[in-house]
């Protein structure tokens, strides 16, 4: 077993551990921190795929921003009101949705033959160039969506 496989196994185990933690814990604060483990470990998988930039952005955005905003919101609300989540009513629906999602995710793996492609070092310069020439319109649309969300949040949050 090569080193990469060992590291991949460890990281995948961490991803699964975090993901199971998120859905099994009843404390919302803990769930957020489990989510952080999952998101951070996904960054590890990106590193294994030689996508360093993606990994660091994953840590910066998901670890450094999204998790923190979630925790921030949790602290501002009264945690004892949500400390145990009761979701038994939704459970059958959740199972159906999860199975459907699993099917969607697995389908491409059944059709494509995996492996065989050699990994090349991703270049930040190439990435930036592609992003601002070939994928410019999707990129700008994504920025616009974020801007709209930002303005919406301000409008909702304003008193007057």
């Amino acid at each position: 077993m090569s080193g990469e496989v060992i590291v991949f196994t460890i990281i995948s185990a961490m991803v699964l551990f975090g993901a199971l933690g998120v859905v099994s814990t009843k404390n919302v604060g803990h769930a957020t921190l489990y989510l952080l483990i999952t998101l951070g470990s996904v960054a590890g998988i990106f590193i294994l795929l030689l996508a360093e930039f993606l990994a660091l952005v994953q840590i910066l955005i998901y670890g450094g921003a999204i998790t923190i905003v979630l925790l921030f919101a949790l602290m501002l609300t009264r945690v004892d009101e949500f400390s145990s989540i009761k979701d038994a009513v939704q459970r059958p629906v959740a199972i159906v949705v999860s199975v459907l999602l699993l099917g969607v995710i697995i389908t491409p793996f059944l059709q494509e033959t995996l492996g065989g492609q050699s990994l090349t070092e991703s270049n930040l310069r190439t990435l930036g160039h592609e992003l601002f020439t070939k994928w410019l319109i999707p990129f700008e649309v994504a920025s616009l969506v974020l801007l709209v969300a930002l303005i919406g949040a301000i409008v909702v949050g304003r008193d007057d």
């Binding site: 604060g29 921190l33 360093e52 952005v57 910066l60 450094g64 923190i68 925790l71 602290m75």
Partner: protein, 384 residues
């Protein structure tokens, strides 16, 4: 009690080794682990020296003489303090969320150590040279915020929750000017590799092209470190001790250690990004780097001895109305200058002029009134 200290050391060594493993071939992993351990020892000594120096400098600013009893000029005072902290009884309040309470110091400390694996002291003296080094440093340093929230939230203490809220708001806000200014430098150097950034300054240090950038980065770094005048989240007179109120002994000392690691880190970053790092005439490179770091750290301590603390709303105002727009303006202006390859010296003059202008208008400004605070009882909050 001492377990947590050992646990932290071991875990950070493992994480550092793990990162070194991921970023390199697997052949020199032991060498890198050794390097990481040496670095840890070195940084601990630096922190001891820094604490002593800070106390001495503050004492001199306030016309005192500072610690004198333990060792010549009180040099051993910090070591005595460290021994005291580690052997102190470790109290854990009964209402705490135990796991998070124990994990929080580690979550704060590990990122603050791991970033050092990519910081170069000279072109060859670096544990892992990384193409995206600057981004790595910035990404890792954001992770400490999670630790602060964990500490504040798990302590089951109103002061610590308030401290955690304030620290989050402060650190997230001031992250933006830091990242944008670092991006400006990366744009000038055409690289995110810290070694390349220093090499790009071989003719002129970037402080001359980016005086405004340096000012913004330095102020935002002070806030990011939670140092005076931005030490709002552990303001002793208002919040007792912020997120760390309930911590004592070895737990508390780890937060303290991480804080000084970060202070040293930002001083090093300022030296590398703006002051030309190890470049300088006559003396060997590493000595130049340490001279520059020493000067930056002295200024940080000097500011601590000089300025009063800001209020939380003033802090937000400075961040969002001052530093964020200015850093974006600086970024766009630099991009325009690079695109049309205009002389960067003009950029330097514009930077100095804008700093002077800002200082002048700031002096003339109307002092903002503190916001009216309305206390709402918790029952009313729930009804709303």
């Amino acid at each position: 009690m001492k377990v947590i200290v050992q646990l932290t050391l071991v875990s950070s060594a493992i994480v550092a080794a793990f990162i070194a493993l991921l970023f390199s071939g697997q052949n020199d992993i032991f060498l890198k682990a050794l390097g990481a351990s040496t670095l840890f020892g070195f940084l601990s000594v630096v922190v001891l020296a820094m604490i002593w120096y800070e106390r001495k400098l503050l004492a001199r600013i306030q016309m005192r003489i500072g610690p004198m009893r333990v060792g010549p000029f009180g040099i051993l005072q910090t070591i005595a303090d460290a021994i005291k902290l580690v052997t102190k009884e470790d109290l854990i309040p009964s209402e705490t969320d135990k796991t998070l309470y124990w994990l929080a110091p580690i979550v704060v400390f590990v990122p603050s150590f791991v970033v050092w694996t990519v910081i170069p002291f000279t072109p060859s003296l670096v544990i892992q040279e990384m193409e995206l080094g600057l981004l790595f440093v910035l990404a890792c340093s954001t992770l400490s915020i999670v630790g602060l929230i964990m500490a504040g939230w798990s302590s089951a203490n109103k002061y610590s929750v308030l401290g955690a809220l304030r620290s989050t708001a402060q650190l997230i806000s001031y992250e933006i000017p830091i990242i944008v200014t670092a991006l400006t430098i990366a744009m000038l150097a055409d690289s995110l590799n810290l070694i390349e950034i220093v090499k790009a300054q071989s003719s002129v240090a970037y402080v001359l092209f980016q005086p405004l950038g340096l000012a913004l980065f330095f102020i935002a770094a002070l806030a990011e470190l939670g140092r005076t005048p931005f030490d709002i989240y552990h303001a002793e007179s208002e919040l007792v001790g912020g997120p760390f109120v309930e911590y004592s002994g070895a737990h508390w000392s780890i937060f303290y250690l991480a804080e000084y690691f970060n202070t040293f880190l930002f001083a090093t970053l300022v030296s590398l990004l703006f002051l030309g790092g190890w470049l300088g005439p006559w003396l060997p490179g590493i000595i130049w780097l340490f001279i520059k770091i020493f000067i930056v750290i002295s200024i940080i301590f000097w500011i601590r001895g000089t300025y009063p603390r800001l209020r939380i709303d003033q802090l937000m105002e400075v961040g969002w109305k001052g530093l964020v727009p200015l850093s974006f303006a600086n970024f766009v202006l630099t991009a325009v200058f690079i695109y049309y390859s205009w002389s960067l010296w003009i950029l330097g003059f514009i930077g100095i002029a804008s700093i002077l202008l800002i200082m002048f208008t700031y002096k003339k400004r109307k002092i903002s009134q503190p916001p009216e605070i309305i206390l709402i009882s918790s029952s009313e909050v729930r009804r709303v």
